[in-house]
């Protein structure tokens, strides 16, 4: 059953945290609608965690303001946190406390946490809550942090790089959990530096670089932005379709070396696959570009100016 909520979950107005020497976050104007899954994409050190900590009221803005469901993130910090499930970028240390005790401790502070929901979440991620925190692997620590963020079925999930340390199977389980939360009416604000992750689960994406929001894009636009490095090796007895590949839409920087072809593919893979046709391929590797490469290719300059969405 969907929950009734204000139409805007997150709103920031010229939100700034200036650490000096050009570091921090500057003039962030952002709106995230209720029941939206918003991806916050940026390379390491871009200002993602600073933004999230200001939304959570952990750090005070130098100027500007942030509102969660209409509540000021600093002035109404306690009320804001009733509505929010938070997953920090670094899982904190809990020493020799057991997983179940950590949940009981923080759940006791929050109140109203359903033990049965927690048990289902732990089962879903195969997390043994009887073990001590210091015995957990980094993946299990991350799973515990996910359980802590979701345990009270919050209206808004603020997640700072939630899939770091998770194996692919658990990543898929996490994405499924996100979709269920959204279907149940929750809003999600998810930071990541992995383009495919954001593309996988988000409705809309904000791209941040050097402390400034440079773009807010719909998912379709993100897919157009997306570029892959592709390396294809053809069978020894096959002719390499070099000219067909060069002519294919969205395929750039084609290099042919013997039976091996390297190129960049922007957008859909279909034109490239059509160009390959029936030729026998023995190996095909597609690599996602780094965010820096993406910025360079998309904005054609090293230090993009802030753009409005």
């Amino acid at each position: 059953m969907l929950r009734e909520m204000p139409t805007t979950a997150i709103r920031t107005s010229r939100l700034t945290k200036d650490y000096g020497a050009g570091r921090g976050l500057f003039d962030l104007d952002l709106q995230v609608a209720a029941q939206e899954v918003f991806g916050y994409l940026g390379p390491n050190g871009a200002g993602k965690t600073t933004t999230i900590r200001m939304l959570m009221g952990m750090i005070r803005p130098t100027s500007g303001s942030a509102f969660i469901f209409g509540l000021d993130s600093v002035r109404d910090a306690v009320d804001v946190k009733r509505k929010v499930g938070y997953l920090p970028g670094d899982v904190p240390q809990f020493g020799s406390l057991r997983g179940s005790e950590i949940i009981a401790y923080l759940g006791g502070m929050r109140g109203g946490v359903d033990r049965e929901s927690v048990r289902k979440l732990a089962e879903r991620f195969d997390l043994d809550l009887s073990r001590r925190f210091r015995e957990y692997s980094s993946g299990n620590k991350q799973k515990l942090a996910i359980v802590l963020a979701f345990m009270h079925r919050p209206d808004l999930l603020i997640l700072d790089e939630p899939t770091s340390s998770l194996d692919p199977l658990n990543q898929q389980e996490f994405y499924a959990l996100l979709r269920e939360a959204r279907d149940d009416g929750a809003t999600v604000f998810l930071s990541s530096h992995v383009l495919s992750e954001v593309e996988h689960v988000c409705d809309r994406v904000g791209i941040i670089r050097d402390g400034r929001l440079v773009r807010v894009a719909q998912l379709d636009e993100l897919r157009r932005i997306r570029v892959h490095h592709v390396e294809i090796e053809f069978a020894q007895d096959s002719a390499v379709p070099g000219s067909e590949i060069r002519d294919a839409e969205g395929v750039e920087d084609v290099t042919v070396t013997g039976q091996r072809v390297t190129c960049r593919v922007r957008g859909s893979f279909q034109p490239l696959l059509s160009a390959i046709g029936d030729t026998t391929v023995v190996d095909l590797v597609s690599t996602e570009p780094t965010l820096e490469e993406l910025f360079l290719s998309y904005f054609s300059e090293r230090k993009p100016k802030a753009l409005t969405s």
Binding site: T50, R53, M56, G57, M58, I59, R60, A77, V78, D79, K81, R82, V84, Y86, P88, D90, V91, P92, Q93, F94, G95, S96, L97, R98, S100, E101, I103, A104, Y105, L106, G107, G108, M109, R110, G111, R115, V118, R119, A122, E123, L127, D128, L129, S130, R131, R134, L148
Partner: protein, 540 residues
């Protein structure tokens, strides 16, 4: 070399803090000697006798002074001997931090991955701490020499060097023994296990001065070899073989610790106790205490609270046992009877017990407050505070709950030690006023809260610096009460010391003004820490 430099870098604040404490301590004691000992030989001999009388009450802590009528003898007793205990505590914290704390933080793994051998790592950290001890001991010597120069006297330099060398030797032997124990015990028990060993070695030696039956074991204690020397006063004993034994203990301890480290798995103790296998579970504990403020904090610290309560109860028994022996020794010295008359008039046993036990209890409660502040700081730096504040609780509530948990823990500990003190005294035939025992024991709580509230303010201001600055504050507070009357400090300055405000509640009852000041200082610290916590950035 790089590993040694890294070890020094990690311990830089300890080096600065303990060197400063050593310098200030010996300087103020030296200058204080010239203020109170008088100038003529007669005055100084009388002063020396009064110090001997005072020292006999502390024989369970420090060896009797040699020539306390001289600046060297007095400062050896009041400055260097307490520093030996302080350096042992520093060694304990540094060794367990280097062996297991750094392991939990991943620093040991990173160092080993960088190519240093395990034996090399132990050697580098031990060498780094030895250098740190040399610096701090040199600071102690410098403080003494500056004070002597200010008093227009001269002292023999070899004695100063020997006294400093002994500080290095006792500190290093404690360090390597703690390092060895830290390899054997589980990470969470390493500090406690090493602390118990060092405390046992200290008590075996110090109590052997009072209980003859222990004297056959004191050769085991490195503190015994420290005590054999008092090189600072003219003609004071210096036994080079004792220094050799301490050096041997250091080398032996480091070598065995390195071998143990080489054998054990990273993150695991060398000695693994069989643990019951717990079945896998996805259920959350239904224990009720996690839901209630203060209870949850006490439950989480239950092991520590139990250790503190039992440890202080045992110490109370030891001090009660010592009291009868000390008083009998004192009363058998005719020349001391005039000095003791003040105690005799007001019941000698409660007087001595109040003076010795509650002095030690104050130091221990200050240490208790510092351990809580250390935990608050760690919660801040390792991200736990951030996750706590992501729950719907205000920052003020977090500060208040922390303080309430400390108060509740202190109440449990002081109840255990106070009840033990009363019943142990009763069994020994020393009848204490029960109301006074309760009042004096309860006074330890606001006493601890003063330090905790100052620590809370510091932790809110700068969590990384909080423990060091609070330690310095506690040290200054102790010096304030020790030296306030000697240096004729204004009353309001003396009143800033919690040690002074504690008073002598077992002997004279609780002073209402002092209690009010303690509460006022605590409230000021608490209000300040709430304000500071509201304004600061968390996790930045």
């Amino acid at each position: 070399m790089i590993a040694i430099a890294f070890g020094l870098r990690l311990g830089r604040w300890g080096i600065v803090g303990f060197s400063l404490a050593a310098f200030v301590s010996t300087l103020v004691q030296t200058v204080g000697f010239y203020q109170i000992a008088g100038q003529g030989p007669g005055e100084r001999i009388a002063f020396g006798n009064s110090i001997l009388a005072l020292a006999s009450q502390f024989s369970a802590l420090f060896p009797p002074p040699f020539r306390p009528d001289t600046v060297g003898g007095y400062v050896e007793f009041r400055g260097f001997h307490p520093l030996a205990i302080l350096f042992a505590i520093w060694a304990l914290a540094s060794a367990t931090g280097a062996a297991r704390g750094d392991e939990e933080r991943g620093l040991v793994e990173a160092s080993l991955a960088a190519g240093i051998s395990r034996i090399g790592l132990i050697g580098a950290r031990t060498t780094a701490f030895a250098i740190a001890l040399v610096v701090a001991s040199a600071a102690a010597a410098a403080g003494f020499l500056v004070g002597v120069a200010a008093g227009h006297e001269t002292v023999a330099l070899p004695g100063v060097i020997e006294a400093s060398g002994l500080l290095v030797a006792i500190g290093l032997s404690c360090y390597t023994l703690a390092l060895l124990v830290a390899q054997l015990a589980a990470a969470r028990a390493a500090t406690a296990a090493a602390g118990v060993l060092l405390l046992a070695l200290f008590l075996v030696n110090s109590l052997s001065r009072v209980f003859d039956s222990l004297s056959i074991w004191r050769w085991l204690s490195p503190f015994r070899y420290y005590d054999l020397n008092q090189p600072l006063p003219p003609g004071g004993p210096f036994e080079p073989r004792a220094l050799v034994v301490l050096a041997g203990v250091s080398i032996f301890g480091a070598a065995i610790a390195a071998a143990a480290f080489d054998f054990r798995d990273l993150g695991a103790p060398l000695v693994r106790l069989p643990m019951p296998v717990r079945p896998e579970s996805q259920s959350v504990t239904s224990a009720a205490w996690w839901r209630f403020p203060v209870w949850r904090g006490m439950y989480e610290r239950r092991l520590g609270i139990a250790v503190w309560a039992i440890g202080m109860a045992v110490l109370a028994i030891v001090f009660v046992s010592l009291t009868r022996t000390i008083v009998q020794v004192l009363l058998s010295i005719p020349s001391l009877l005039p000095y003791l008359s003040i105690f005799v008039r007001q019941q000698v046993y409660p007087g001595v017990l109040g003076f010795t036990w509650f002095n030690v209890a104050q130091l221990l409660f200050a240490a208790l407050a510092i351990t809580y502040v250390a935990r608050w700081s760690a919660e801040d730096t390792d991200g736990r505070l951030e996750l706590t504040l992501s729950q719907p609780v205000s920052r003020a509530a977090v500060v208040v709950e922390r303080m309430a948990t400390l108060i509740a823990s202190a109440l449990v500990i002081t109840a255990a030690s106070g009840a033990t003190l009363y019943y142990a005294s009763h069994m020994q035939g020393i009848d204490l006023n029960p109301g006074r025992v309760v009042a004096a024991s309860l006074m330890l709580v606001p006493f601890a809260v003063v330090f905790a509230s100052a620590g809370s303010l510091l932790a809110a201001w700068n969590p990384r610096a909080a423990v060091g600055v609070l330690g310095a504050f506690a040290f200054a507070s102790y010096l304030d009460t020790e030296l306030g009357s000697i240096y004729k400090l204004p009353l309001w300055v003396q009143d800033l010391s919690a040690f002074k405000l504690f008073g002598t509640p077992l002997l004279t009852g609780v002073d209402g003004r002092n209690l009010a000041l303690l509460v006022l200082l605590s409230l000021a610290g608490l209000a300040g820490s709430i304000l500071a916590m509201q304004r600061r950035d968390v996790g930045a």
